[in-house]
Symmetry: C3
Subunit: 329 residues, 3 copies
Amino acid sequence: MQLEVSLGELAVRFGLKLQGEPGLKVNGVATLSHARAGTLSFLANSRYRRALESTHATAVLVSQADAALCPVAALIDANPYLAYSRIASLLHPPAAVPPGVHASAVVSAAARISPGVSIGPLCVIEEDAEIGERVRLGAGCIVHRGARIGADSLLTSRVTVYAGSSIGARCILHAGCVVGADGFGFAADQGTWVKVPQVGSVRIGDDVEIGANTTIDRGAIDDTVLEDGVKLDNQIQVGHNVIIGAHTAIAACTGISGSTTLGKRCMIGGMVGFAGHLTIADDVVVTGCSLVSASIHNAGSYSGGMPTVATRRWRRMVAQLRRLADKER
Amino acid sequence: MQLEVSLGELAVRFGLKLQGEPGLKVNGVATLSHARAGTLSFLANSRYRRALESTHATAVLVSQADAALCPVAALIDANPYLAYSRIASLLHPPAAVPPGVHASAVVSAAARISPGVSIGPLCVIEEDAEIGERVRLGAGCIVHRGARIGADSLLTSRVTVYAGSSIGARCILHAGCVVGADGFGFAADQGTWVKVPQVGSVRIGDDVEIGANTTIDRGAIDDTVLEDGVKLDNQIQVGHNVIIGAHTAIAACTGISGSTTLGKRCMIGGMVGFAGHLTIADDVVVTGCSLVSASIHNAGSYSGGMPTVATRRWRRMVAQLRRLADKER
Amino acid sequence: MQLEVSLGELAVRFGLKLQGEPGLKVNGVATLSHARAGTLSFLANSRYRRALESTHATAVLVSQADAALCPVAALIDANPYLAYSRIASLLHPPAAVPPGVHASAVVSAAARISPGVSIGPLCVIEEDAEIGERVRLGAGCIVHRGARIGADSLLTSRVTVYAGSSIGARCILHAGCVVGADGFGFAADQGTWVKVPQVGSVRIGDDVEIGANTTIDRGAIDDTVLEDGVKLDNQIQVGHNVIIGAHTAIAACTGISGSTTLGKRCMIGGMVGFAGHLTIADDVVVTGCSLVSASIHNAGSYSGGMPTVATRRWRRMVAQLRRLADKER
């Protein structure tokens, strides 16, 4: 059974201006080019407005500036993508998960399980772990002793949370992510390495999302911290004692070395590498594949790396650069 | 019990020219330098032909050009490495896995399990999942509701396939890979982020291999697509709505940002970063550690990045480049 | 119950010089800035000696040179960080794990389990696997047939060890790491790829640590080898037939392509990419985010990559470099 909502109802519920017939109904979302009758689409970037012309959507979310070009019904908002995100959540709700503990899950009698919790097949919850109200754990999640998962959080599948880590409310953690493994700490001893015990923990705020196979190390002594609203994509590495400021978003494959602090509301591209012990200001943007080897003290956009060209030309670039450096010695 | 095959039989079965005694037998493969009597080796690249001289292999797969130098029996083919791959598969068959469902697996009564399937210990198969004929799932695999695994595919161990994802026939997925987790989509709302539901799925063709801990995100609205014969190494990240053309091979640690399309038969090195919304032509080669920030419209070889030199020289290179840029402002 | 130890006892046990009252007691470690009474801190780098002034630690591990500045009791050693690592291990011992096999684990009757082993919930141990004395497997570990885990090793949680892999004594493997998945080997056949069976294995020495979600591929024919004392951080990729020399330490997200050999006692930064078939000498240091595309024959420090600057300046750098290369054609 699919939910069907009228444009009039959407306009009222989400405070949108409607251009067109309020009785028209939509039951799902679609891209402009693949939309069929009964779907709602959106135009977030005016650059792509030509795609409006040929759409078969029943209605499109647009800005006021683009509304005149819309050949079908339009729902108008200053931020069409934000309005889209909310309507899409309404039309495509997550599958309902009834509360309860699957018979195959291994739950310690000494764990604290709040009401309304759903624990999927083959999960492991160790002693003194604390699972907040309405938390949902998909299949195969492991919550080690003394870890805490805040209310309404979702561990989708096969998430590992190490002992003592703390995760806030309304967080989403995807498959394969690991919270609280040991940081990388060794003391040199005559050509060999002696392990430095990692006795800190991980503290994650509310409304944080963590992508698949991302790893967040526990602190060496103090804690590793992700503040509220941080969004991490897949395969990100967060070293011990890193602090990530509230509402910072980081794209996939980025690595942050130990003890680096990122400011609030930063936007970090994919495959960026941060050296350790840096301080990055609030509202910093770093483009993808940059090597950040020094602290950044001011908001703004930063970049590194040498973008791809034809291999022959690249060889000349590298050769010229080496020549230049060797000449000026 | 080890399989033993005569050179004569191999020559006939694989259409090879034999130089030497047809009755000689081999029972395994080896590198030229570590070969012992009874093994078959190969020389794929004439540059290394000196290694032929001292080999103890019983026979070597070589090209016609190198056959004269081979001091032992030679099996001759235009593509010795391809012939090697086929003979190695014959001599080292995968361990046979009897069909059946392990008692510890949690299989929904509403899953569709085809004949000849093998489901290992502690697997989870949710409702409406569809497991094709002769599929083998190693220990700890999770197939969420409505996902589909095509005939003769192998999920080696601890693979996660999210709801609704579709995987073709004869695919191989390695441990820790995650198919169909949410893409990274958020709408900005006054300094915070609102999750954009990821309602697309993942469609994977036939004969695809996916390495350990690789992640392939589901589409935001339309699907993420891997066409037939794509080969992905370990720890690759494939963003939402990426399309990878047939028979493209990608080395480890590469990341592909959302909505980028790669052509057919591309060869992508390790740790390459692709920006989002790019189009890469068919038959493109990108060397390792390149940052691809613009579309590539023609077949050919492309490179980026600044290769490693002594740290002192590197510092001069960086300084010179900055000087040059600042001077010309 | 927390262990409490007197400074006098620590001085005797670890061969340290004590400046202050031997009867003072400590029960845990802390950073200089967050220390409270009853804790022990350390100063490893004289650059940060100003932090001594305001510490509330009961005692601080320092070098002789910094001891005069220490306002509280001092434990003096030539290598304070090494002494710290040992005392921290004493004060923060890992949680004791009683031997035994959890009822939910699936252990083959044909596996060889030594005395004193602890096998956690939902582990899978296949036939002919060999688990050494006092090995501890946390929840959800999978040890495939014929794999070997040496005495006193710890697989913390959800580790996957493929068939036939061998791991030495006193190793630590973190969640999500995968040992022995297939290497990335395919032979070209008229625009498609034919899988080359990966018949080698993985051999890991003693005292090796492997981080979360790190992947170590089995060899194509010969084995992939990690020698004694190697330390690998999270999300590292080790390709087939790589050899890593004893006591080499590698930071997170680094990738090593197939058949490359790293020397002993190397220190490799994070997100470094090694091309295949290289030889790296002993005692080489490579700084983070470097692209190593050629062998390195001498000990020393090496670097690559173009560090991050303001995006506008970076655009000029890239443009200048391209101009220079095109001019000199």
